[in-house]
C-alpha cells in the first residue's frame, strides 16, 4: 500500500495557480523526487501534504491517515526539512533538539541525533556560528527527532557547497536503507537522477511525467546528442537539408545537435563534410540524460 497518496491536489494564490490537479503515490521505503524549475509548484505540493498549507481541493493520505481531516496525527509520523527554516541565532543544536523532542511522545534522544548527524562537536555552539552545511544537518536532525516514518525534504541541498552536498546525499541514501520513505523536491537533475527511485516532473503546477529516472530516459532514447569538431568553422548552410538534426548549435569549430536517428544522420553529416573537403578532428555521441528529458518536456532549463 502506498505510504503517500495525493489525488487531484489544487492550490491557488490569488490569480496564480500553484498546483492544478497534482496526483502521485509514493511507495513505502522509496525516495520519491519532485523535480521542476523554480515556481513550478513543488514546494506548494509538499507543504500541502505536510499540513503547512490548506489545499483548495484534493485528497491527501499520509501513512494511512487522511491528512486534511487529521493533520495533527500526520505530524506524529513525519519529519521535514523546509526550504526556508532557520532557528533563533542564540539557540544551540542541543537545545533545539531537546526543545523539539519535547513536542513528541516518543522522540529520539538529542545526543543520538547529534552523533548521527555529525554535530557532536558543535552541540553547544550557537546557531549563528554554524556553517551552512552544519545548519542543514541540524535541520535534518530536527526532522528525525520524531522518529519519522516519512521524511519530506524541500530542496535540502540548495546553497550548499559540494562537500556538504555530498554528505547530505549520503544521509538521504541512508534514510532509505533505514526504511524511511522520502519525498525530495529539487531542481537539481543530477540529484534527482542519483538519489530517487522514482521522480515526477512538475511544471506550471502539473505533473508532466513520472517514473524511474532510467525509464524516463529510456523513453526518450531516440534523442541522442552529437558533438563534432571540424578544422574549419561551419555554418547552418553546411548542414542544411540533412534530416533528423534538431537543436543545432555552433561554438567556434564545435558543432552540436540532437537527433532521434544517430546512425543515419551522422552518416549524412560526415558525407556532406567530406564532399566539401572539411575534415572532422573530434566526434562524440552521448545518449540522452534526465536533463534532456526535462528540457524536452518542459521546454526550459531548470537552473
Amino acid at each position: 500500500m502506498p505510504n503517500v497518496i495525493v489525488r487531484e491536489l489544487r492550490k491557488q494564490y490569488g490569480d496564480v495557480v500553484a498546483a492544478r490537479g497534482v496526483s502521485f503515490e509514493i511507495e513505502r521505503g522509496e525516495i520519491f523526487g519532485l523535480l521542476g524549475p523554480n515556481g513550478s509548484g513543488k514546494t506548494t505540493t509538499l507543504e500541502c501534504i505536510i499540513g503547512l498549507r490548506e489545499p483548495d481541493h484534493g485528497e491527501i493520505e499520509v501513512a494511512g491517515i487522511d491528512a486534511r481531516r487529521d493533520p495533527r496525527s500526520v505530524k506524529r509520523h513525519i519529519g521535514a526539512v523546509l526550504q526556508t527554516t532557520s532557528l533563533q541565532d542564540k539557540i544551540t543544536p542541543r537545545e533545539a533538539l531537546a526543545l523539539f523532542a519535547s513536542f513528541y511522545d516518543d522522540a529520539s534522544r538529542p545526543g543520538d541525533l547529534l552523533q548521527r548527524f555529525a554535530l557532536l562537536d558543535k552541540a553547544d555552539v550557537t546557531f549563528d556560528s554554524l556553517s551552512g552545511g552544519q545548519r542543514q544537518r541540524l535541520a535534518l536532525a530536527l526532522a528525525f527527532v520524531s522518529r519519522p516514518e516519512l521524511v519530506f525534504l524541500d530542496e535540502p541541498t540548495t546553497g550548499l557547497d559540494p562537500q556538504s552536498r555530498r554528505e547530505l546525499h549520503a544521509d538521504i541514501v541512508r534514510m532509505r536503507a533505514d526504511g524511511h520513505t522520502v519525498l525530495l523536491t529539487t531542481h537539481y537533475i543530477d540529484e534527482a537522477e542519483q538519489l530517487c527511485d522514482r521522480i515526477a516532473i512538475i511544471d506550471r503546477g502539473q505533473i508532466i511525467a513520472s517514473g524511474a529516472p532510467r525509464d524516463l530516459i529510456a523513453g526518450s532514447t531516440m534523442y541522442q546528442s552529437v558533438s563534432l569538431v571540424t578544422e574549419r568553422v561551419l555554418d547552418a548552410a553546411a548542414l542544411d537539408g540533412i534530416p533528423g538534426i534538431e537543436d543545432l548549435a555552433f561554438d567556434g569549430t564545435r558543432t552540436t545537435f540532437r537527433t532521434p536517428s544517430v546512425s543515419r544522420t551522422l552518416a549524412a553529416v560526415l558525407q556532406r563534410l567530406d564532399a566539401r573537403g572539411i575534415a572532422v578532428t573530434d566526434l562524440s555521441v552521448r545518449k540522452a540524460t534526465l536533463e534532456d528529458v526535462f528540457i524536452r518536456l518542459t521546454g526550459s532549463s531548470v537552473d
Partner: protein
C-alpha cells in the same frame, strides 16, 4: 505541558543571551528611573510618587516592543513555521512565550524596585497587591503586544507600531507626564489608553490605599488585555508570507480597539476623568518637607516636629545621607537631632506659640535664602520680573489678578490661613506643572503685599515656612475658580511647595533675594 515548559525555558535562555534585549528590557527602565530621580530630586522621599509611572514604562516597553519584536523576528526566520510541523498546539507555544515575557517583565520590575529602594524609597505599602496589580498591567500590555505581533509583517513594522502606541501613551496617556498638567482634552483622551489605569493602579499599591480603591482600573486593564488576547488569537499567523493586509481575519483588530473604546466610554460615563492619582493614603498626618534652612554644616532636619508617615519617617531615619540630590531648603537644627517617629527634635531656641511673636532674630537664625531651588528650575519656579508670558498665559494671569481679591479662600479671617491659601495659588500650578506656574507667584506676591501689612506678612511667611503642615488646605479644592485644573492633587507636595514659595517671597520682601 512538557513542551510548554521546555519552550518557556528556551525562550528565557535566548532572551538572556541577547544583549540588545537585555539593554531594552533592563537597562532602559533603569535609565528612566535615573531620569525620574534627577527630575524629581526635590521630593522629600525619592521616587515613591513615581513608581507607578516607572513600572508602567517597563511593562510598556517589554510587552509592546520586546514581545512583538521577538515573535515577529522568529516568524520572519521561519521558526514558528517549523513549530507548526510538530504536533503541539498553538496555545501551548503562545502561552509559554507570554509566560516567558511575564518573567522578564517581573524581573525588570523587581530590579527597578530594588534600585529605587536603594535610592531611599520606602517599601511599597501593599507589596502583595503590587504583585497583583503588576499582573493586571502586564496582562493588558501583553494583550496589546500580541495584537502588534499579529499586525506587523516585519520587525521594522513592530518598531513603527510600537512608537505609535508608546509615545502618545507617554505624553498624553498619563504615563510620563502628570495628567494634572495636561489640558482637558488630553485628560479625556487618556481615559481610552491603558497607561493611565496602569500608572494609577501600581501607584495606589506603592503609596496609596491599595487596589481596593482602583477596582475600576483593574477592570479596565482586564478588558484591554482580554480584548487584545482574543483579537491576537483570531489573527494568529505562523508564516511571514501571510501578510496582514491580505488576511481575512484582520478585522479582529477592531475587537482590541473596541476594548480601549469601551474602557474610555465607561470611564467617561462614570465621570473618572479627573486625575485620581498621587493622593497619599489617608488617614494620618502627612509628612512635611522641612522648610528652608540656612546652615551649612550639620544635618538639617525639621524643627517643627512634623509628624511623619511611617514609611517617610523610615526613609529619613534610614537615609541620613540621602542620594546626591539637591536637598530642599531646610531649617537650621543642632547636629544631634535625628528625626524620629516618636520624638520631635529638640529646638535650640524657645518655640514660639504664635506668629505674632516672631522676631527678625528668628528669621535670621532659622532661614537662609541662598540655597533655595533656582527660580529657573522645575521646583517652585518664578519667572523674571521683566519676562512677558505668552498671550494665553497672560490672559490667565490677568484673570487671576482680577479674581484673587474676591476669591473666598483669599479672604479668610485668619491672616495666616489667608496667606497660606494665597500661597496655594502659586503651589498648585507648580505641582501640576501648568503653563502658568512661573507667573502665578508674581500675582500672589502682589496680592499679599496689597492685603497684608509688610511687618505682618514677614512674620506670617516665616511662620508658614516653619509650619507647612498646619492649617487648612481646603482652598486647594477651590482653585478651579481661578481656572486651574480641578481634581485630586498630592496635598503633601502642594504644602511643600507653598512653604518654599513662602521663603522665596519672604526673601524678596526682606531684600535678601533680588526682585528681578
Amino acid at each position: 505541558m512538557r513542551a510548554s515548559l521546555q519552550h518557556l525555558g528556551v525562550s528565557l535562555k535566548l532572551h538572556y543571551r541577547n544583549k540588545m534585549a537585555l539593554i531594552y528590557g533592563y537597562l532602559f527602565p533603569l535609565i528612566f528611573l535615573l531620569a525620574f530621580w534627577v527630575l524629581y530630586r526635590y521630593e522629600s522621599v525619592p521616587l515613591v510618587r513615581h513608581m507607578g509611572e516607572l513600572l508602567t514604562v517597563s511593562v510598556l516597553g517589554g510587552a509592546c516592543f520586546g514581545l512583538p519584536t521577538t515573535m515577529v523576528s522568529e516568524r520572519e526566520r521561519g521558526v514558528w513555521r517549523r513549530y507548526r510541523l510538530a504536533p503541539v498546539s498553538t496555545a501551548a507555544l503562545v502561552s509559554s512565550t507570554v509566560a516567558a515575557r511575564y518573567v522578564i517583565l517581573i524581573t525588570a520590575g523587581l530590579l527597578q524596585l530594588a534600585v529605587a529602594l536603594a535610592a531611599g524609597m520606602p517599601l511599597p505599602r501593599h507589596p502583595a497587591e503590587l504583585f497583583a496589580a503588576f499582573a493586571f498591567v502586564s496582562f493588558a500590555f501583553i494583550g496589546v503586544g500580541l495584537v502588534m505581533a499579529m499586525m506587523a509583517d516585519n520587525v521594522p513594522a513592530v518598531q513603527a507600531l510600537g512608537q505609535c502606541i508608546f509615545l502618545p501613551m507617554l505624553i498624553i496617556g498619563g504615563v510620563a507626564v502628570p495628567l494634572a498638567s495636561l489640558p482637558d482634552w488630553a485628560q479625556h483622551v487618556s481615559m481610552f489608553f491603558p497607561g493611565r489605569y496602569a500608572v494609577d493602579t501600581l501607584q495606589a499599591c506603592v503609596n496609596g490605599a491599595g487596589i481596593a480603591g482602583v477596582r475600576f482600573n483593574l477592570l479596565a486593564l482586564f478588558i484591554i488585555g482580554a480584548g487584545g488576547c482574543i483579537a491576537a488569537a483570531k489573527m494568529f499567523r505562523w508564516d511571514s508570507q501571510q501578510r496582514f493586509s491580505r488576511r481575512s481575519s484582520k478585522g479582529w483588530v477592531t475587537v482590541a480597539l473596541a476594548a480601549w473604546v469601551l474602557v474610555g466610554v465607561m470611564a467617561e460615563y462614570r465621570g473618572r476623568v479627573a486625575t485620581q492619582r498621587a493622593t497619599p493614603a489617608p488617614p494620618g498626618p502627612v509628612a512635611a518637607t522641612p522648610p528652608p534652612a540656612r546652615t551649612t554644616p550639620p544635618p538639617t532636619v525639621a524643627t517643627t516636629a512634623p509628624t511623619l508617615s511611617p514609611e517617610e519617617t523610615r526613609a529619613l531615619s534610614t537615609s541620613p545621607s540621602p542620594p546626591p540630590r539637591e536637598a530642599p531648603p531646610r531649617v537650621n537644627a543642632p547636629p544631634e537631632t535625628k528625626p524620629s517617629a516618636n520624638a520631635a527634635p529638640q529646638l535650640p531656641h524657645p518655640v514660639k506659640s504664635s506668629w505674632q511673636e516672631v522676631t527678625t532674630d528668628d528669621i535670621d537664625r532659622d532661614l537662609i535664602f541662598d540655597r533655595l531651588p533656582a527660580d529657573g528650575g522645575i521646583v517652585t519656579p518664578i519667572a523674571p520680573a521683566d519676562e512677558d508670558p505668552d498671550p494665553e498665559v497672560a490672559d490667565h494671569v490677568d484673570y487671576i489678578r482680577q479674581m484673587l481679591p474676591s476669591w473666598q479662600p483669599g479672604k479668610a479671617a485668619d491672616p495666616v490661613q489667608r496667606v497660606r491659601n494665597l500661597l496655594y495659588v502659586a503651589a498648585v500650578p507648580d505641582v501640576q506643572q501648568a503653563q502658568i506656574e512661573r507667573f502665578a507667584p508674581h500675582v500672589v506676591y502682589e496680592r499679599l503685599q496689597e492685603d497684608i501689612p509688610k511687618d505682618q506678612l514677614i512674620k506670617i511667611l516665616y511662620w508658614i515656612a516653619l509650619h507647612p503642615t498646619d492649617g487648612d488646605d481646603s482652598a486647594v479644592d477651590q482653585v478651579w475658580a481661578l481656572r486651574f485644573t480641578s481634581g485630586a492633587i498630592d496635598m503633601q507636595q502642594v504644602r511643600d511647595r507653598a512653604a518654599i514659595y513662602a521663603v522665596k517671597l519672604l526673601g524678596r520682601l526682606l531684600g535678601k533675594i533680588p526682585e528681578g
